[in-house]
């Protein structure tokens, strides 16, 4: 079975400092992994995805994530937070037939001026 654990429900950083949002997954096969972002009163948007190519994946808005099989992790990072990054972030793993997608419970990112 597949599952995703987002280790922090809330993360607060100051503008201009690095962002780290943690995600661990469980999968019985080589997974595909995603990060989605949900801004207040807006729909979910894909940030980036890992599909068994390069383990370091770059996404939109300066975000990137690294797939580490040995640690079963797919943490999301950004070198310097902007106020506009304040949102809820979801880590997602797909089923092996790509029919189903399992979402983590989300991490709310707060960015302080």
């Amino acid at each position: 079975a597949q599952s995703v654990t987002q280790l922090d429900s809330h993360v607060s950083v100051s503008e201009g400092t690095p962002v780290l949002l943690r995600c661990n997954y469980s999968s019985s096969y080589s997974p595909s992994l995603f990060w989605y972002v949900q801004h207040p009163n807006k729909g979910l948007q894909l940030l980036l995805k890992y599909t068994s190519a390069a383990t370091l994946v770059k996404g939109i808005n300066g975000f990137e994530a690294e797939f580490k099989k040995s640690e079963t992790s797919f943490h999301l990072t950004k070198p310097s937070a902007h106020m506009s990054d304040a949102a809820e972030y979801f880590c997602v793993v797909s089923s092996n037939n790509f029919n189903k997608f399992y979402f983590g419970s989300g991490t709310k990112l707060n960015v302080k001026p």
Binding site: V4, G43, T51, F98, N99, K100, F101, F103, S105
Partner: protein, 114 residues
Amino acid sequence: GAGVSQSPSNKVTEKGKDVELRCDPISGHTALYWYRQSLGQGLEFLIYFQGNSAPDKSGLPSDRFSAERTGGSVSTLTIQRTQQEDSAVYLCASSLVGGLYEQYFGPGTRLTVT
């Protein structure tokens, strides 16, 4: 261009009543997904449609839930005999082909069962 639309945006219903939620996917997208987002939870997969193939219904929580997709486009999610635990935001997403293609999400329908 037009994104995924859902209607109604809000629905309040009494326990025991049936409700229908509608999703209009992006034109040309063959894959359509329904999810449920309960308060403080991540999204829970409900059902997946891909073209004319039989849908993957494995995420539907009970036989009170059903969904149809007519003509490979519009989809309706029906909840019969609603219960208070059905209260949630129901999200629809579509993608070009399914699989690992990006899913585009609608704004959701907030269902409240009183």
